[in-house]
Amino acid sequence: MATPVAQPGLQAESENPLTAGLERMPVAPTSLVIFGATGDLARRKLLPALYNLAHEGALPERFHLVGVSRKEKEHGDYRAECEQAIRRFSRRTPDEAVLKSLLDNVKYVPGTFDDEGVYSHLCSVLDGFEADAGEPLNRAFYLSTAPGFFPVIVERLGTSGLNAHEGAQVRLIIEKPFGTTLQEARELNRAVLSIFDEAQIFRIDHYLGKETVQNMMAFRFANGMFEPLWNRNYIDSVQITASEDLGIGSRADYYDSSGALRDLIQNHMLQLLCHVAMEPPVSFTAEEVRNEKVKVLQAIPQPQAADIPGMAVRAQYGPGQAGGENAPGYLQEEGVPEGSITETYAALRLEVDNWRWAGVPFYLRTGKRLARKVTEIAVTLKPVPHLAFSQEGSLGVQPNQLVLTLQPNEGVSLSLGAKIPGTRMIIRPVNMEFLYGTAFLSQSPEAYERLITDAMRGDATLFTRNDEVEAQWRVCDPIVSAWEQTPGPLPSYPAGSQGPREAQDLLRGEDRWRAI
């Protein structure tokens, strides 16, 4: 039966009546410029994402891609590299004709990022697209370089006048990490905001582009049954885990300068915490959603130096067994400096001091070379106030636990007490499980497909705002500083294990880490 539809017509000049009912909203004609165009991220994620958008007809009506990188090469050479990357990393086998259509619109500008000539060259390439189109096109600059280049690129974009464009929008997309300390994040924000408006800036945290993270919003705010329980009166603790079974692989350079806290907790895991703890936004607009997330971050007390040993644990994996094979310890991995004190495991106990969450511990842990790869949020409810059943001879009545699994198998499970069949009233926990994969026909797009589209559309809902980034660093920065000032060696845990014994010390009362 027909669903009521808004009365069509052209009364509201600001609305496009043709978009009603369409699943895919229009994206304005755009020239996308990738700085760091030959890097790993561009090859593995950005170019395949662009191909898949092209395949689905989801790119703007007019779309051009310009790669900017230091290496000298011709347009054709860069197109060949793009083709190779797409063939290797795309989630679908490319259609030859579509691939050609996409690559026909690719150009390359060589040069170092501080070279003003690069920007005048870029300007002429972009102007050339617009001369062909006969109209101004939106411009999106994607900074996919090492973070050290962000300030100079932004500054040069400003001095060359590329930060604004008459008759069209200019947007700046910035990859993580956004600073490595609070001070750096503030300085970078200051530098970027001196050239661009906040509304032009899209700070990527690719976790936010994952369907699984967006599903958390739907889970919380589209289901009335959880909201009455979603507070300190019923929830005992929240545990957020992002564990990896693999080691650092060939990423020693990056990882050793980052560590587990900066790599995952400062951004992705605090975002997950925000999604668990935020108040329902008035609407799902970028500003309303981000306002609520910032309030959560501001409600987390900034760690004080004296408290850090009791609320934060770090460790490094040592040699062990992973996947049935011997696995080296972190210090034995290729490229890791001797005596490195970079943590491969970090666990925190945080509090959210507001009316809803006061007194509820939020446990966060992440690590490399743990027993299993899993990302999950476990919400443990308070135990029943009185037990009418004997605990004898059973696993007993356990507090209910709601587990939101983000990967590998996205789903929700709720542990419940159930009677074991038999003549006695003996209870044990059972799981009621729901797996998202069983309930939908569609394949989730890659996070970068969604994020690139949203940035080109100017929708910042899934991007972090300047105050949000700084609020995240406000929580993590004191811990980073304290750890940097404390000499090693770090506590160790065997590769393939559940993590360091020291992580137990963070837990309050009867709380337990869930098995990874």
Binding site: N16, T19, G21, K100
Partner: protein, 353 residues
Amino acid sequence: MSTTDAVWSAQGTTPDAIEAALRQLLVEVHAEDDSLVPARVLNMIAFVDREWSGEIANRLSGVGRYHASRMVVLSYEPGRERLDARVMISADSDRAPGEIALLRETVVVELGRQHLDDLLTIADPLVVTDLPTLLWSPHGHQEVVAELLALAQAVLVDSVDEPAASDALDRAWSLKEQAYVVDLAWLRSTPWRERVASSFDPPRRREDLRAITSVTVRHHPASTVTAMLFAGWLASRLGWRTGPLSSHGDALSGSAAAGDGEVRLCLQSAPELQVRGLEGVTIETASGRSMSLDRGSGGLRAISREAGGEEHRWTIPGASRGETGVLGEGIRQALLRDPTYVPAVGAARAMLA
């Protein structure tokens, strides 16, 4: 890619026995490998003529991940007296370690004319309760559709299958009262609707929507309905009042009233087009600007002509979904609701002479 993990079949069986066999197979498959879990998305009932059931099976096998989680094929052979059934449970064979694999269930019931009076009681036990059900009868059998609609929330039709556009549109119009209509003829126009919406989306172009003077839709000779639905969509979204179109050779033409003005409509058959659907669209505005989109290799060929005669040509990348993709999309759409289809059908019906 999928592999069949379990099969059951019986001759002279009953719906209860089939349903019990399904449940048992699911238990056995899951007990053998607990990472195999049943998908619970959508029931789909297909009522097909047995002699064409192979072709339908081929079409359905191509929809990949859009396969309904439980597919019930009622294979009709008028002279058949016995109820035979096959149950197949299959899972994706390519999955990453640690990931679940979804089980999809297919039930094929062979039945005859004598079973038609009890069709509802045969199909009802075979669908998963509480899941939406999509009904598809690709070989006509409207009396069967009328009966099985009691089980379905959505009905899949392909309006280009009807020999006469008027019959197709009348049928879609009447079905909408009983179920959500997913029309493959409409879905063939989706990429075109998206692109036209996008062309007029920039604020400087939006004003042109008020000034459209002419719409030409080029279509496969058998896809007049798709062209009518596309024109009907524009008309219903932009508040035009459509009137009857008249035939001129291989084209239908006429006009729609748009405020104080008029929009010329032309639906032009394109015999060179090998696949069902649209070949191209041209929209002209009072300012003299025109925009054309046409099928091409690797995407749509776009031509924009400004009032002064300046012309721009380019390609908008995109892959054709093919007929299998359109069918898969039709199955997926059973779980969504597009509020613009029915108004488009209404405007298209007004184009009938």
